[in-house]
């Protein structure tokens, strides 16, 4: 199997004799998961927990980005894309010894699709109004039927941890490499090996590690300090300053794994009902204005100054990290002050004594809101402020705490532009239907439209629906490439940059294969081992 070959290679790279058994891996998660129920995982920490404990039918390999078999040894997708048949592994047991069968898959789907649960993983399956059907063919065969074809549905099963229908422990009975041993509120989650984990190294049951301790730690400085003291074994998602510190110490293993899917974006409020003056709405509605702003931002400076080079200028919704879907033809909007000035002049803006005025004489001044407490983001806002000053535009930076910010961008629409981070969990554009459809609640610049406000939004709607209904990957790619081009052209959202995945680990940790997809360092946790620590 392909994955086995990969693991073999990784194992060869590792120094020393062979993998060692035992030991405890320690690292930090940002917050205590709101719920440990796998269907309700809604944050990075909850998803990490689910990844470590949950068993899934298929797994998206975080390095190759290909689908690999897990609990489903094989599968068939019907030609019309409305049904998937999974052939399950036999002889697999949950952590408490309950045997695993097709019934458990059916039960999992039933829980996941409960309309009152509002499970993010469940919601991503919902395409039409009709429910999803799960048919148990026999003990080891199960068929999932969708009301209408959804392309890329298979990948979504990477987020579906199988629950046990019969175990008295309910969702605490797991199929993944680890199970929860202890939860100390606000402090840590202690995981121990699942004695019944189905994977082996050929002889013994994996994982190599005996235990994983997830320390709950919000403060990144403290996390770094603990890592330096040897209390933690790995760090991921570091900022540039922290990475520089690790590099300069030279004691730990570290890597810049390249651009990740996460990025920083700035979008304009294009909601026609927003409580803004009409002339301001006219500025933002103008493509020339938006493009002018984009061309005035020095993306290279943002990457160099704030991220010390560990970031790439942003192009579109997907970074180059998404190998298949990224549109290679597009390049970042280049810094070009003259182009920006021409675009503004075309719309009747003119510069008088250092300040820009629109055709009606209004001074061009607007604000960008961002969440307080994120230093990198606040710095980016300050840099954009200076960049726009070159056009004679006054940008006011307003930092708000998160709920207040969310209220403005989803409820009151009392904002002009917003600077926020972008997180992609799913590699497939279908995971972003709600973002691109003009009727979507997550359509950032103007959500929940009854009918598309502009022709280009109507075109995006058409393209997105078309790609979702098509089962041919090449055709879908062509359609979504066009979506990326329209967004690049119209610039309702300015993609500023994509951060690189910066990771570090203790030299005692082996078999590391850092990936830019989450969970960056522990995606192959069942094969990681610690050397020289009982």
């Amino acid at each position: 199997m392909r994955s086995a070959a990969l693991f073999f290679l990784v194992a060869l790279n590792a120094a020393g004799s062979g993998p060692q058994w035992g030991g405890e891996l320690r690292f930090c998660i940002r917050s205590q998961p709101r719920s440990l129920h796998p269907a309700l995982a809604d944050s990075e920490s909850a998803e990490t927990f689910r990844y470590l404990t949950g068993g899934v039918l298929i797994r998206v390999n975080r390095v190759t980005q290909e689908i690999e078999p897990e609990l489903a040894a094989s599968w068939n997708v019907s030609k019309d894309g409305r049904s998937i048949v999974f052939h399950l592994r036999t002889g697999v047991c949950f952590s408490d010894g309950t045997p695993f069968s097709a019934d458990d898959v059916a039960y999992t789907m039933q829980v996941l699709m409960d309309p009152n649960l509002h499970s993010p993983a469940g919601d991503s399956f919902r395409s039409g109004s009709a429910p999803i059907q799960t048919i148990v063919r026999d003990k080891s065969t199960v068929e999932i039927r969708f009301p209408e074809p959804i392309a890329g549905a298979l990948r979504l099963f990477d987020q579906v941890a199988i629950l046990s229908r019969n175990s008295p422990l309910h969702e605490a009975a797991v199929l993944g490499p680890f199970r929860l041993a202890e939860l100390k509120a606000g402090s840590y989650l202690q995981l121990t090996r699942n004695p019944n984990y189905w994977k082996t190294d050929g002889v013994r049951r994996l994982p190599y590690l005996d235990a994983v301790r997830l320390k709950i730690q919000q403060n990144r400085e403290l996390e770094l300090l603990r890592f330096e003291r040897g209390e933690l074994d790995l760090l991921s998602g570091m900022d540039a300053e922290q990475f520089a510190r690790i590099v300069s110490r030279g004691k730990a293993w570290f890597r810049d794994a390249g651009p990740a899917l996460e990025g920083e974006i700035l979008w304009f409020n294009l909601n026609p009902s927003a409580p803004l003056p009409d002339y301001e709405k006219r500025w933002f509605a103008s493509r020339n204005f938006r493009r002018a702003i984009s061309h005035a931002i020095r993306r290279e400076d943002l990457c160099r100054v704030i991220y010390e080079g560990h970031a790439q200028a942003g192009v579109g919704p997907f970074s180059a990290a998404n190998r298949f879907w990224f549109n290679q033809k597009l390049k970042p909007h280049a810094f070009d002050l003259r182009r920006a000035q021409e675009l503004l002049a075309a719309d009747g803006f003119r510069k008088e004594g250092g300040t820009l005025r629109d055709s009606a004489g209004h001074i061009v001044e607007f604000s960008v809101i961002t969440n307080s407490g994120n230093r990198a983001r606040e710095r980016a806002a300050a840099m954009i402020q200076q960049d726009l000053a070159a056009l004679g535009i006054r940008l006011n930076v307003v930092t708000l705490d998160f709920p207040a910010l969310v209220q403005r961008i989803t409820g009151t629409f009392r904002y002009e532009t917003c600077l926020l981070g972008l997180v992609n969990v799913d590699l497939d554009p279908n995971g972003q239907m709600n973002v691109w459809l003009s009727s979507g609640a997550h359509h950032p610049w103007n959500p929940n439209q009854t009918s598309p406000a502009t022709t280009w939004e109507a075109e995006i709607d058409r393209l997105m629906r078309a790609q979702a209904a098509n089962m041919d990957p090449g055709r879908r790619k062509t359609l979504f490439d066009r979506v990326q081009e329209i967004v690049w052209e119209e610039a309702p959202v300015l993609y500023l940059l994509n951060m690189n995945a910066l990771v570090a680990a203790s030299p005692a940790l082996h078999n590391l294969a850092p990936a830019v997809l989450r969970p960056q360092l522990v995606w192959n946790v069942d094969r990681l081992y610690l050397e020289g620590r009982p």
Partner: protein, 296 residues
């Protein structure tokens, strides 16, 4: 002796009155705290609505203002009813009973609070007393200066410093509280030690340690009681930011997270708790003052 017997009934009456006020302040604290959360921007906002995987239906469901916030007065009335039964309500953001959340975290907070208070108290007390017993002008000046400088460092910076030194929240609390206590205890000890009867005790050749205990500390006990009350409320107030900064899994951190999530039930409960502690501390200070007046 005569004075005592006459004081007793008046005392009882004033204690009753004070308790009634105490309860009124507590009730007002709860409703005002609730009103502040309810008024705050972003109340009823669930961050999960930003999850792009959710359908429009789910987003609409999550965007509903929680039942607790629709009518504050009714919520509060129900809450008080629950309170009598020992039910503190459910946290909105964490979806669990507030009582369980507090129980999980109270131990951690109480430990750091007690340790921080004890450290600050013992240090302030012993340093002030030693200075009084030995009376070395140079030491006095050096220690007063050190405490003064500590007083001039922003508390958040102190907490960060303690954090970087690998210290616990208790250490940060002690560093914040010590200079405040020391300043007070030092002047108290200075006043107490310059009392004529202390001088007389020296003239009778009594030992320094016994003088400190019986002639300096004992007469200052009412004042110390008052200070103890104030110090507890000071420490409780400092615990929240310190725990938030030190990432210590205590009630302070819970409150900080609840504040960021506009978690009305958690905030109302903790406001009540803090109000109770503050009011009790001031009550203790008042009793201390009364004792002193009765004493002299």
């Amino acid at each position: 002796m005569n004075a005592h017997s006459r004081l007793c009934p008046r005392w009882l009456a004033s204690v009753g009155k004070r308790l009634a006020w105490f309860a009124a302040v507590l009730l007002a604290g709860g409703i005002l705290g609730g009103a502040l959360v309810r008024m705050a921007p972003g109340f009823g906002i669930d961050e999960r609505v930003l999850d792009a995987r959710l359908t429009n239906n789910s987003v609409a469901e999550l965007s509903k203002v929680p039942a607790e916030g629709s009518n504050l007065a009714i919520y509060y009335w129900h809450y008080l009813g629950g309170l009598l039964r020992g039910d503190l309500g459910n946290s909105i953001s964490l979806g669990r009973p507030v009582r369980a959340l507090l129980a999980e975290r109270l131990g951690v907070s109480l430990r750091s609070l007690a340790a921080g208070l004890a450290m600050a108290w013992v240090l302030a007390f012993s340093v002030a007393l030693l200075l009084e017993i030995h009376r070395r002008a140079l030491w006095d000046r050096a220690l007063s200066l050190a405490a003064g400088v500590l007083l001039c460092i922003p508390a958040a910076l102190l907490a960060l410093g303690c954090l970087q030194l690998g210290g616990s929240p208790a250490l940060a609390l002690a560093a914040i509280l010590f200079p405040r206590f020391f300043k007070y205890v030092h002047s108290l000890a200075r006043n107490a030690a310059s009392a004529p009867h202390v001088f007389a005790a020296y003239a009778f050749g009594e030992r320094g340690v016994r003088i400190a205990g019986l002639h300096v500390v004992a007469p200052a006990l009412p004042e110390l009681l008052a200070l103890a009350g104030v110090s507890v409320s000071l420490a409780v107030g400092a615990t929240i930011p310190v725990e938030a900064l030190c990432d210590s899994p205590g009630v302070g951190q819970l409150v900080w997270q609840a504040a960021l999530a506009r978690d009305l039930p958690v905030i109302v409960n903790v406001t009540l708790l803090v109000t109770a502690v503050t009011a009790a501390a001031n009550l203790a200070a008042d009793v201390g003052r009364t004792l002193r007046e009765v004493g002299s």
